[in-house]
């Protein structure tokens, strides 16, 4: 293995989008990244708890950071944008303030844990671009994606609020476009909705708002000629795939477009068989499209 990172897939990947977790593990293994699972990690605080009780949510994120630090890894890698948002937020607080860290450690200390403030949080595009790097990914590529028109979908919490991350422009992100085009020799379509909200967090309370968001994003991608949508977030992937049928009806559309987690697309490009990437678990099956494109 070339390097190790602490791995936190998040609740969505442990419950619904297990395919993304499966694909991420395969991709990392192939690229020489050792994923160290966090013992007993629970929820990061989620968006729901963040709204209901921000202090509890931040402490839960702090606990996850402490578990990551205890593995000896300095990077905590997650495949969920909301987890990234919560954890980056908590890290910026606990890594930079001794007072905040001390308050957290009073709570963690009851279970013999502590946090020294050494962990950085990363997502899949950052892992591939900054840690694995162009040369290693290129060397691993076995299949040409040239025929596949990919619509990158970034989602909100990996890029906004911009001050949290500093990795890319929060309104005009490019990391997935670069990965697909430069690292994987694929083709991307540019479409205005690629950095908008997927509607996941209003699905339970404002269903129609979510359907309109999903329908708008997907309709925009289809209008620009996309074959599939690719996202680095498990929650965005679930919203766009599982709720696609109702969303398309809501915007009076008549289309269907497969949704891939970024790990699945990278997996395909580096030669991992589709069945090992969980591609048969999708509600909108990508199998017909991938067969047609020779993937």
């Amino acid at each position: 293995m070339r390097f190790k990172v602490a791995y936190y897939p998040g609740c969505e990947a442990r419950a619904v989008n297990r395919a993304a977790d499966q694909a991420t593990r395969k991709v990392c293994e192939r690229l020489g990244v050792e994923l160290v699972d966090l013992a007993n990690a629970g929820c990061c605080g989620s968006m729901e708890m963040r709204v209901a009780d921000p202090e509890v949510a931040q402490a839960l994120s702090g606990r996850v950071l402490a578990l990551a630090e205890a593995t000896g890894a300095y990077k905590l890698f997650t495949i969920c944008n909301t987890c990234a948002f919560n954890l980056v937020d908590a890290a910026s607080k606990y890594n930079n303030s001794e007072e905040e860290r001390s308050t957290l450690n009073e709570v963690l200390g009851e279970h013999g844990r502590s946090y020294r403030g050494t962990v950085d949080v990363i997502t899949l595009p950052w892992l591939l671009i900054r840690l694995v790097g162009y040369v290693a990914v290129r060397e691993a590529v076995q299949r040409v994606l040239t025929n596949l028109k990919v619509a990158p979908f970034y989602g909100c919490h990996m890029i906004r609020p911009g001050g949290h991350y500093g990795f890319e422009n929060p309104m005009k992100p490019t990391s997935i476009d670069i990965l697909v085009r430069e690292f994987l020799d694929g083709e991307t379509v540019d479409y205005p909705a690629k950095a908008l909200c997927c509607g996941f967090h209003t699905l339970l309370t404002e269903e129609k708002v979510s359907y309109l968001s999903i329908g708008h994003v997907l309709g925009d991608a289809v209008d620009r000629g996309a074959d599939c949508v690719v996202t680095p977030c498990t929650q965005c992937a679930t919203a766009l795939d599982v709720y696609q049928g109702d969303a398309v009806k809501e915007v009076r559309g008549n289309f269907e477009i497969p949704i891939l987690h970024l790990s699945q697309l990278v997996g395909l490009a580096i030669g991992i068989p589709g069945e090992e990437l969980g591609l048969k678990n999708h509600i909108v099956s990508p199998m017909k499209l991938l067969k047609k494109k020779g993937l």
Partner: protein, 60 residues
């Protein structure tokens, strides 16, 4: 948070109440595709997670 993780089925049931019945067809499709667990296994850190939440609330 009964399992230490967010359990989507429990969350839906609690937020939507009886209206969750309308989501049954979707749930069945997800079950058929293997994307929805019938029951989420409890996180091994559940007890610690609950006590962490209690400790934060106590210190307020």
């Amino acid at each position: 948070m009964e399992s230490g993780d967010i359990d989507p089925v429990v969350l839906m049931r609690k937020v939507k109440g009886l209206k969750v019945v309308a989501d049954l067809p979707r749930g069945l499709r997800m079950l058929a595709r293997g994307t929805l667990p019938l029951k989420q296994p409890a996180n091994p850190g559940l007890d610690e997670i609950k006590k962490t939440i209690e400790a934060v609330k106590r210190k307020k």
